[in-house]
Amino acid sequence: MTPSPMDPRPSSKKDRIDALASTAGTGTAVADVHVSAAGKVKDTGGVSLIASAWARLRRDPVFLLGAVITILFVVLALLSPWIAPNDPTKRMPELLKDLTPGNIPGAAPGFPLGSDEFGRDLLSRLIGGARQTLIVGVFATLFGLAGGITLGTLAGAFGGWIDSLVMRIVDVMLSIPSLLLAVSIAALAPEPSQWTVIIAIATVQVPIFARLLRGSMLAQRASDHVLAARALGVTQGAIVFRHMLPNSLGPVIVQSTLVLATSILDAAALSFLGLGNPDDRQPEWGAMLGTATRYIQDYPHLAFYPAACIIVVALGFTLMGESLREALDPKSRR
């Protein structure tokens, strides 16, 4: 019936045929091919779901492309002080001499991308910006994830009035447009800093994660294997943390890779609106993009480079997330 292979283990089949071939011709008329009552069980270690998902991911070109982009980005971020040819915070005398109110110097020897609006090396600022961008993206996602998992687990594990209460809070948060919410939270802070940006973006992500997790937790709650665990007399805590949560995390993990991409974009938007980190000694792509828009008529390249970096990195995470989603989907397994 199923149009997929009944036995996806050709190697074991071959082994068995080989074994049969070696026993054949020994003169017995009756072939010794009986299986035991329960059928054959391979004599090897088991393959968990994660292991089989990983085996498929390793061969998925989309995932590999996403992973390469992401790894390059992370390496760049970690090693930026050593990779950057110049100090990204220093106004370079070589560039300053050509910098006038009407002219931002372009490419020059030693400065392949030229100068920014204050006479600093654009390439070095892009490389240095990777670190700040990564910090913003990763921490915003992590905080959002932590909040979302907490709320989602509470709602999904207990149900009843706790679920109703948590979900109403989440609904209220979702009803405010996300950027508006982030702007409001960022504006609440006495003075904007890197961390206000992170917290603002994380807060926006919390309801998304919470809703997603609660949904799959509820599905798990009604599932046969959770019922089986209850029937077995497993304690409530073990059911939540051993059975429900691990089986519900798949979509949340996928979502978090996508959120990583969007939180970089959100950070860019906040910086653009002037709510980003005002300290421009720590270059950040979003902030660079924000300030570059002032010169976009005459010097579009100032906006183009950070924008391109953001797009490529966001694409890397998105590709990874998409193929991860496909690999973790139980329906695509077999």
Binding site: M1, T2, P3, S4, P5, M6, D7, P8, P10, K13, R16, I17, L20, A24, G25, T28, A29, V30, A31, V33, H34, V35, S36, A37, A38, G39, K40, R59
Partner: protein
């Protein structure tokens, strides 16, 4: 225990309603004496699924059988035996990509596999109709039942909506849906499972097809509802002379309904025969084992069942052995060395090196 039981209490010989006796069954077997040309000739049908990054998998590995007008042919087997894929291949309903179908499906001189999508669409519903397992997902949920029947009439018989409506009403009545005038306007979700399956049969019958393929039509239904649907199918076949291909895993269903039975295992037919003959003397160890492993309602209690060991995942590849050999009760050496061929003899066909002894 059963001292003073009056005669009519045993349900096996109880009185009411349905009356299909041996004489009636003989009428349905006109195709046998007439020596008619087969309506459908399936020859060496092979279906290979090819998925990206996976080894190609041959679900149907050379299936051949005939269906004569008015005949009911059963395809029986367990999950993975290729019975449903066979039916979908005949109907041209396999997904357009990821599979390869070879062989011939000869319907009155036309090879259905050669037809274009458009030509096949004209054939489907008009000449060949199909009834599926899950009536809810086979019906369009947002269109009333009546409209779904008239649509077929409009498309294949060129009727106007107005002319088609009373015909649709009669069809619903014919398949035993009570109060058909009202039900014409009902949506699928408003009907019970059994009524939905009736509606689906009405749609299949709309164009008086000469061949009806039923893929597990009663598997999703309760026993009492299953009995209703089977009685309906039996009656329709006898009244209209439609040929029926019945696909099922349930040997009980086959025993009561089919004239000829094909038993499939691992994508190939392993045994074929007229139903009385086949059930009385199953020769293939698989057929024999299946019959021995099913608890029967009319058998004395207290006997242990004789299961077939293992599962289909223990199969050997047909190319170099008998796929069933590892699970077989009486394999001989040659069973693991080459594939047995399907040998036809006395209106029986058998694919086995060491068949079960005939017990008569």
């Amino acid at each position: 225990m059963t001292t003073t039981t009056p005669r009519d209490t045993n349900p096996m010989d109880a009185t009411p309603t349905d009356t299909s006796n041996v004489a009636d069954r003989d009428k349905a077997r006109r195709w046998q004496q007439g020596g008619s040309e087969p309506l459908l000739k399936v020859r060496d049908l092979r279906v290979t699924f090819q998925r990206q990054g996976q080894e190609p998998f041959e679900a149907v590995q050379g299936v051949s059988f005939d269906v004569h007008p008015g005949q009911t042919v059963g395809l029986v087997g367990e999950s993975g035996c290729g019975k449903s894929v066979t039916s979908l291949a005949i109907m041209g309903l396999l997904p357009a990509r990821g599979n390869k179908v070879t062989g011939t499906v000869d319907y009155e001189g036309t090879n259905l596999l050669d037809l274009s999508d458009q030509q096949m669409r004209d054939k489907r519903g008009k000449d060949i109709a199909m009834v599926f397992q899950d009536p809810l997902s086979s019906l369009n949920p947002v269109i009333p039942i009546g409209l779904q029947v008239t649509e077929v009439l409009e498309r294949h018989r060129g009727m106007s909506r107005k002319a088609a409506t009373p015909v649709a009403r009669d069809l619903l009545d014919r398949v035993g849906i009570p109060d058909p005038d009202r039900r014409l306007k009902d949506y699928p979700h408003q009907l019970s499972g059994g009524m939905r399956q009736r509606a689906l049969i009405a749609i299949a019958l709309a164009c008086q097809p000469r061949l009806l393929i039923a893929d597990e039509p009663t598997t999703a239904l309760d026993v009492t509802i299953q009995a209703q649907i089977l009685a309906l199918l039996k009656e329709l076949v006898e009244d209209t002379g439609t040929a029926l291909v019945m696909i099922t895993h349930d040997l009980g269903v086959v025993a009561g309904l089919c004239d000829e039975v094909n038993v499939l295992y691992g994508g190939r037919i392993v045994e074929r025969g007229e139903r009385h003959d086949l059930f009385a003397q199953p020769r293939h160890p698989y057929t024999h084992g299946l019959l021995a492993s099913i608890p029967r309602l009319d058998a004395p209690r207290g006997q242990r069942l004789n299961p077939i060991p293992g599962s289909v995942s223990d199969n050997l590849p047909w190319t170099s052995a008998c796929a069933f050999a590892p699970r077989c009760s009486q394999p001989i050496e040659v069973c693991t060395q080459k594939m047995p061929e399907l040998v036809e003899q006395h209106q029986r066909a058998l694919r086995c090196f060491n068949p079960v002894e005939a017990n008569r």
